[in-house]
């Protein structure tokens, strides 16, 4: 009978429990004054959560709400790894004294709990709760630089857009519940299979509303208007968190829902989704060309990348899972690297425009090499992981359905455009030679040099042998 205890002994959802407790530990750090040790505690805790997550009993059903299948375990691991990385690279920002690290870390950890739920839910209630737990800490984090007006604006805009999207999503969930009578993903799938081709309009409408709500969350066009301002206004590493971990988790949830429940009804949403993808890729890439701030450029690039990642939802087959895992890993690592370099450049030069990268190769050769590799990976150029991720994604789309050829053509065209703005950064760093002001020679701490080198190694080594991620059985 004692279900609580039983779950505890079975090592189910240990990562969620560890992270929730870690969040509480982190929020109390100020009060019990162990803030100096907090960073180490958090790092150890997240590492522990990764280990616990890998040891999770597979295919366990937790309270009929979560399902720890291979998909859940591997996406959770990926997200936890990205969080661990995030804590390492963001150390400098939270030691600067502008932010209260204990509150910020607690919010990040709670958001991660939401991300983990989004990778493993088997019930629409859990999906909604996961999205809320993921977004509410981020509304706050976006405004965590209280003295900066653009940060306040980012917080408000993100909150309004996010609340609106949640409302639409909830509306869609209600419609789906109204027509199927269940929240369970597998039962919805059974119901849709049994109904065959005469699905009621209520169900279609529900799917479309859910799709719109999730498209808001992953910032797919035409629901992307909040993204540039929010990404630009938020503190640098909060933006990095939003662009990588939040987006990754939202896509994992998006794919999980559509793959498990709505594949048999794909006739009703595939066309709309493919139009959404084409619009996202074109808008993101084309507007990114006109930006003068690198941070804003990365925001538009993240919109464009969301378009590519949405291709996996359109596919919704076994191969798409691998493509999604690979793409989120590649995009996550590259983006975190790019934001880390950008953070240090902004700290040294004071701005985040393309001009601030001018002749960076002379003062900071390492930063320039790292940024170059990150840009190459985002643009999808070998030998980086980004190339392989894109290649695998496009080829798996073509392999399964040749009628999406036009979409692949749009994607390739978008990628070509993206080369222009990614290379603008590289050309700025290596192209012009300008007299160097001595204040710009300030070097970054050795810790970050080592970390950045490590990240570059990950990007290149994964690019050389992406089989590491492809060899997971039965994702």
């Amino acid at each position: 009978m004692s279900k609580l205890k039983e779950n505890f002994n079975d090592k189910k959802m240990t990562a969620v429990i560890i992270l929730s407790c870690l969040g509480i530990v982190s929020m109390l750090a100020d009060i019990f004054s162990y803030k100096k040790a907090l960073w180490y505690i958090v790092l150890a805790g997240v590492a522990g959560a990764i280990v616990a997550n890998l040891n999770e009993k597979s295919n366990a059903i937790i309270y009929d709400m979560l399902l720890t299948d291979n998909y859940a375990i591997w996406f959770s691991t990926l997200i936890l790894a990205l969080v661990l990385l995030w804590f390492m690279v963001s150390k400098d920002q939270y030691e600067s004294g502008v932010y209260n690290s204990s509150d910020n870390y607690a919010l990040i950890l709670f958001a991660t709990v939401g991300a983990l739920i989004l990778t493993s839910f088997s019930d629409l209630t859990m999906m909604f709760l996961g999205i809320e737990i993921l977004s509410i800490p981020l509304f706050i984090l976006a405004g965590s630089n209280k003295k900066d007006v653009s940060s306040n604006e980012a917080s408000l805009k993100y909150f309004l857009a996010g609340a609106f999207a949640s409302g639409i999503l909830l509306f869609g969930i209600t419609f789906i519940y109204g027509s199927t009578g269940t929240f369970k993903l597998d039962k919805i799938a059974d119901w849709a299979n049994a109904a065959g081709s005469n699905l009621p309009a209520l169900f279609y409408t529900g799917i479309l509303l859910v799709m719109v709500g999730l498209a808001f969350k992953v910032s797919a066009a035409p629901f992307h208007f909040w993204t540039p301002d929010v990404y630009q206004g938020s503190p640098m590493f909060v933006t990095a968190f939003m662009a990588t971990i939040v987006k990754g988790a939202a896509f994992a949830g998006f794919f999980r829902l559509f793959y498990t429940s709505f594949t048999s009804a794909s006739g009703s949403w595939a066309l709309i989704l493919s139009i959404l993808i084409a619009a996202t890729i074109l808008t993101g890439n084309i507007i990114a060309v006109y930006q003068s701030s690198v941070k804003r450029m990365l925001a538009y690039s993240s919109i464009a990348q969301a378009g590519y990642i949405l291709l996996t939802v359109l596919l919704s087959n076994q191969e798409a899972k691998y493509a999604l895992l690979l793409y989120i890993a590649s995009y996550g690592v590259s983006t975190i690297t790019a934001f880390t370099v950008l953070y240090h450049v902004e700290k040294i030069k004071g701005t985040d425009t393309f001009e601030s990268f001018t002749s960076l190769s002379q003062t900071h050769p390492l930063l320039s090499v790292v940024m170059t590799i990150a840009m190459l990976s985002l643009a999808g150029i070998p030998p980086t992981i980004g190339f392989f991720a894109k290649f695998y994604l496009f080829s798996s789309v073509l392999k399964s359905n040749t009628s999406y050829l036009w979409l692949i053509m749009v994607s390739v065209a978008g990628s070509l455009v993206s080369v222009y703005y990614y290379f603008r950064v590289i050309i700025a760093m290596y192209g012009q030679h300008e007299p160097i002001i001595s204040s710009e020679k300030k070097q970054i701490p050795a810790f970050y040099n080592v970390l950045l080198l490590l990240l570059v190694c990950v990007i290149i080594i994964l690019g050389m042998m992406p089989d590491v991620l492809m060899s997971i059985d039965n994702l």
Binding site: M1, S2, I24, D30, I31
Partner: protein
């Protein structure tokens, strides 16, 4: 369901009485009270100084902080009702029926501790 509507008649009566009382008093005072409408009578402060400036003012954010925290705890406390109503039934399962609520209460209490220790409720 028509019988269940009968159950709500007392509540409806209460609503009627409450709103009826308010409406009656307002209308009555309007009807019975003397009406003098001169320029001075309509001043903000009759036979006082002319008001200067604006009545609206910036207000301390502390009020909102306390109000927000109130709303949060209000929502949390709402969850206690369905638990309390079924308490007899839950307690049959032994400690677990109590533990369910304890698990929910613990973060709430930690949050309360946090709010107090951070000095969010200090009005200085």
């Amino acid at each position: 369901m028509s019988e269940s509507i009968q159950q709500y008649i007392p509540i409806a009566m209460q609503f009627l009485v409450a709103s009826g009382f308010v409406i009656t008093t307002i209308v009555a005072s309007w009807l019975l009270g003397p009406k003098v409408k001169t320029l001075h009578k309509l001043d903000t402060f009759e036979s006082g100084l002319q008001p200067v400036g604006n009545a609206r003012m910036q207000f301390s954010i502390k009020y909102f902080l306390v109000a927000t925290i109130f709303v949060l705890f209000d929502v949390e406390v709402i969850f206690f009702y369905p638990w309390a109503v079924n308490f007899r039934e839950f307690i049959q399962e032994g400690f677990e029926g109590f533990g369910k609520m304890l698990l929910f209460m613990a973060p709430v209490l930690i949050g309360f501790f946090y709010v107090i220790k951070k000095g969010a409720l200090e009005w200085d």
